[in-house]
Amino acid sequence: MLRLALTQVLSVLVAVVATLTVVFFAVRALPGDAAVILGGLETQTEQVEALRGELGLDLPLSVQYVRYWADLLRGDLGTSLRERRPVGEMLRERLWVTLSLAGLAFSLALVSGLTVGLLAGRRTGTTGDGVALGLTTVGLTLPEFWLGFLLILLFSVQLGWFPLIGLPVEGDLGVRLWHLILPAVTLAVPRAAQIARLARVRLLEEASADYVRTARSKGVSPRALTRHVAANALPGLLPLLALELGGLLTGTIVVEQVFGLPGLGSTLLGAIAARDYPVVQGVAVLAVLVYVLVNWLADVLQMLADPRLRYE
């Protein structure tokens, strides 16, 4: 058990170091740097060089890399090249936006996806099942930027039920939630469709298992049977849910752009465009932490749900 835990911790550490190293060199491999971009079209070459020196971009890559780890291990994420303030402060301001958006979207996707999936899985071959399948296909294929714009057109412009874009930074929780509903729905739709389809398939697979046939022949009520089937089928969804939760982070990038939300996604996009290396790296640290945490949580939940895994 201890050895298992140790290997796991070790593999996580290797993954974290490898990811952050790749991100460190990948952003620097992009043509152009922060000084060139801040300089734009209107700055003479000498001034761009001066800026490069001021931002520490003229140092050898190896020096920058060592400094990065030295700072990171002390909990210092560095200073934004573009905004010239601590990356930690920037991420703290943005994190809650993305977390509430992702949390809301995930809850929506989970509830609606499971509901549709379970209903469809119980009545395979019926019209309802067909409709559900069709809807999930549409849900999966709609690009987020397009779906988001359609929702804005219908609910914000035509009906005026929801605010157009943006998010108040402070103030009433209800108002902020109201701003987050359309973006969350946009994010949730493809994920709900994915969950619904998988839940349906898992139910179908499980329903053809031997114990179900035996139970049915012994006259177990369909209701009780569904409970048993679901209890066996659903833990199989956990790895997918973990993936979806992680994938939400990338989804928020698009949705935050469409709805003008000041979250981590817009920060990351802006930082890549500006070659603001410390900020890109800071977001990468957060993303790695979230992935590790979510996968670990999925493992634990799966162990709790499936006694066999606990005793192996």
Partner: protein, 497 residues
Amino acid sequence: MPLTRHRFALALCLVVLGSVGLATARSFTLATAAQPDALDPHRTSATSSFQVTKSLYDTLVEPDQDGVIVPSLAESWSFSPDGLTLSFVVRDGVRFHDGSVLTANDVAASVRRLASAGSPKADEFEMVVDVSAPDERTLVLTLSRPAPALLESLASGWGAVLPEALIDAGHDFGNRPMGSGPFVMREWVRDSFVRLTSNPDYFRGAPEVDEVVIRFVADPAVQWQGLRAGAFDVAMDVASVDWPSVRADDRFVLEQGPSGLALVAALNNRRPYLDDVRVRRALNLAVDAETVMEVAYGGGLTIGTFMEAGSPWLPESVEPYPYDPEASRELLRAAGVPEAWRLEMVLPQPYEPHVVAGQMIQDYLREVAVRVDVRVVEWGVWLGEVFRGAHDFDVTVIGHSGKLDASGRLSGYGHPEATYSGFDDPQVAAWIDRAGVIADAEERRELYALALARIHEEAPFIFLGTPFTTFVRAAHVNGFWVTPLLDTFDMREVVMD
């Protein structure tokens, strides 16, 4: 119930309170795609930053709506006869947003900061050898040579005056701007909005509107929908496909004025065949610039040299190149351009109009048997590999923003290493260099006219045109204008009926 004095007073209070509540704050919301990188005017060169700092800071002088330099923080100014001293009389009684009084010492500290390392515009002040403030209202700049464009430089966004005490304290102006301008910074959420409130102590009197919100909206379609939903009062980037709907809707007005941009398809003059003036002229003749302007940029005026249409610096003799594919083919043949010649066109991805224009140029060049391979790259790549660095391109499409003085647009041209086009012409370089260091206005005008006429002849670019600055405003909004050439937002006179 008898109306006692107390009840009367109470009723009066309620009426007063009620009317205060009714007179809600007049808030003006502007939607724009480009957002500032930093709000420290001495540490940025982005128009999108100056568009916001224009409302927060003041400059000694500023361009009026016709582009003429007029007093602002300076009541008056004068050059010494030899052109080596520039003195300003600083306005009395101006206050920064923190309440401190603005004096010539603050101006001096600002000019020093602007001229020192770390300032992107330091080169425009390299001739300033001394800055002094003999008294609270006098500023004297001592110059090593005549600086004919210095006043224009001080009138631009980067000429902003910051409080000396905060400069000395190393204040973070980039995130916490502090000036004397018509509006005060209240809130800045990056990627989302900037909220400013009117400065009651502004030296020209408080602006009409109480609050300004600048919203950063990347999607032009959302900008237009936001206008329709009443979320925005002015939108800067409504796409030209939506202009017919704007014109058909009497709740909105489409405003168009000349901009300061010179749009060009820059040619890499270092590359084979593009180093031949006949080929460069041929490419100019092959492209119907008027149609490109119409389709890609929603209209504008064509240009025949490297200066925006309508500029006072333009020599009268210069006309745009005509669209003449026949003459173009002839010239290409004469220059011995081989059949298999292929051009690589690199286009900056975030600027949709440039990409459209590039694709149109690709089609036009096919008509004269020149093949073009298009590569669309991200902005940072464009800046790092095309504009600077290895200059890895044959053709690219870009707009050069307006400058108050011709030197801002032209300095360096003719020196092959100084510009991305690699344009190599010692004569043009000599004219432009000289015009940058002499004070005589008439002689400068002549030198620039000579240079611009020769740039037309030498055709280092395919000249396209000057687009209109276009924005859409709600019909009830008046007094919003865009500063000529600098393209910054002026919201001091915005009135909402």
